[in-house]
Amino acid sequence: MATTTANGIADRERSRPALGRRYWLLGAVVLLALLPLLGGKTGLISNYGFLQLSLMIVYAIAVLGLILLTGFNGQISLGHGAFFAVGAYAAAVLIDQANWPYWATLPVAAMLCFVVGYLFGLPALRLEGHYLALATFALAVAVPQILKYRHFEWFTNGVQGINIFKPDPPFGVPLSADQWMYLVVLAVAVLMFWIARNLLDSRTGRALRAIRDHTMAASTMGINVAHYKTVVFGISALYTGVAGALHAIIFEFVAPDSFRFELSIAILVGAVVGGIASLPGAVIGGVFVQVIEKYADALTKKLTAAVNLPLDLEPWTIYGIALILLMYTMPMGIAGGLALLWRRLRGS
């Protein structure tokens, strides 16, 4: 119900793209995949640049998870940082304690997060709107403490966290570790976006949107509301958890305090800024979150120098202002706004 008014637009937008658009998309992915050759070998993009790109993609996957739940099923979550944390710890612990190869940890993290999300989805069934927001808010605030729990210390390493090492490319592929992980992250992202699109185009996707738009009508039509709501909670957690696992691998470190409430807010900001019910919106959101996190300081320094502000603004100030302004001007986020603009320009 959360996004009823604007979703007519989003849904029309999401129907299968025309042939031309599909080629554009393919071209963009190929270009991104060739970046290590085009940018890396020529020195245009540093290893640090590739790390930044990977982080953007990782956040895009995390945001996609939230969008599936909130945008397409109408369940609000302020606590997706928790699932991000579970995924990250699953990967880090398996690599650190059991010496697993990094790629093998991804499916395990995915399954674990699906189960955790599904279980959290059970009590969530009884909650709507503000109450669900409240329950997930509590979850987000409590996460670091749960991770520090004394009986988990033997594998989580407590406050210190876990250090892992970035894997080198296999078979002597002539790429740096950052470039290789960028390709891995990109491949995972493409796969997961493709699955998400097919899922949303399927019978399941229609059921999810029907529940969001009118739960009672959906259940009258024979849709098993409880089943779909819990399963989509699991799937949403799975997406965000895989993002967490990838983050742990490329960042080479996990610790309880990296998964504070701020992380859940960042994921929410990404979803809202990008477009809450839009797959391209997830990409925009992921890029936005990483850019703000990285460049908010520089940006505010410039701003304060220009208008002589007597204080240093922080990323959160920009997040907050962006959230509130977007709610008034573009409730469907940047993706929704662009789609609207495009339609106006086409005059339809």
Partner: protein
């Protein structure tokens, strides 16, 4: 035994703060059906304002009413300017705007006053009395001020025409409007009162926990838990819930310690306070969403 009494007493003192916050949350919930996620950060901001006034050399008891009034104005203007256009907006938009407010106040406090920990001295005189061993003067002071505040609020809502108008606007906006009450302004007043109560809670708790931008996250969570336990639609219930949760918080840690001492197995302690709040929130929400004293909401099918 002595330790147990001590724990209950300090639980009551914490509970006073939770009760204040829970009350502020309920005031907004009753009139607008919104859960104000920014309540804690507003209270934190007010506490910083008090600190600033103290730094300028004012007395605490002069600073507190002034800051409460200022917070009242901030609350009213937030409602009038930011939330007014969202009256019929979907839940998600409202939640997102609250999170935006939370982020703005949080970062503004950090930007203006910095992230280093600051201390507010306790405004209460250090006296000894019967039972001094169990509870400190500041804790007594917190409880006393909270109770006074509650009595004043109760009197305001029960005996003044404005209080009656606010209750009417919350209970039945349509009829209240027909009776000539300016419902919109009543909502704004509710917001202002909530912000002022939060200001009192924030500046009372600051001497106990130190002042820093993150100080309110866990306190707000317990405020939520208190409001839910008491029933988020009942002001009296919220206060009771706040005290219950405060005592519960300390008792659970105490029992955990006792259990560890006897059996040597650690289960729960001070490090799990937020987890306890999370469990309380989810348990109440799923098993008895109306809380102990709240009214059961019935959905029309």
């Amino acid at each position: 035994m002595e330790q147990l009494i001590q724990q209950v007493a300090s639980g009551l003192a914490n509970g006073a703060i939770y009760a204040c916050l829970a009350l502020a949350l309920v005031m907004i919930f009753v009139s607008t059906d919104h859960i104000n996620f920014a309540q804690g950060e507003l209270a934190m901001f007010s506490a910083y304002l008090v600190w600033q006034a103290l730094a300028w050399g004012f007395n605490f008891w002069v600073a507190l009413p002034v800051v409460a009034l200022l917070s009242f104005l901030i609350g009213v203007s937030i409602e009038r300017v930011i939330l007014r256009p969202l009256h019929h907006a979907p839940v998600l938009s409202v939640v997102v705007v609250f999170i935006g407010l939370l982020a703005i106040f949080h970062s503004l406090a950090g930007a203006i006053w910095g992230h280093t920990i600051k201390a507010i001295p306790s405004p209460f005189p250090n006296f000894t009395f019967v039972g001094s061993g169990y509870i400190g003067p500041h804790q007594i002071g917190m409880i006393v001020v909270t109770v006074l505040l509650l009595v004043a609020l109760f009197a305001f809502f029960r005996f003044t025409p404005l209080g009656l108008a606010m209750r009417a606007a919350a209970q039945n906006p349509a009829s209240a409007r027909l009776a000539g009450i300016r419902v919109d302004w009543m909502l704004a007043l509710g917001w202002g009162l909530a912000a002022a109560i939060g200001a009192v809670a924030g500046s009372l708790v600051a001497p106990a926990v130190y002042l820093e931008p993150n100080m309110m996250a866990s306190i707000l969570l317990y405020g939520f838990a208190g409001a839910l336990v008491g029933g988020i639609s009942s002001p009296g219930g919220a206060v009771a819930g706040g005290f219950i949760v405060g005592v519960l918080e300390n008792l659970i840690a105490y029992l955990g310690n006792l259990f560890e001492k006897i059996t040597g197995v650690y289960i729960i302690g001070n490090g799990e306070k937020l987890t306890v709040a999370l469990i309380i929130v989810i348990t109440v929400l799923t098993l008895k969403p109306s809380g102990l004293f709240g009214r059961v909401s019935v959905k029309r099918v």
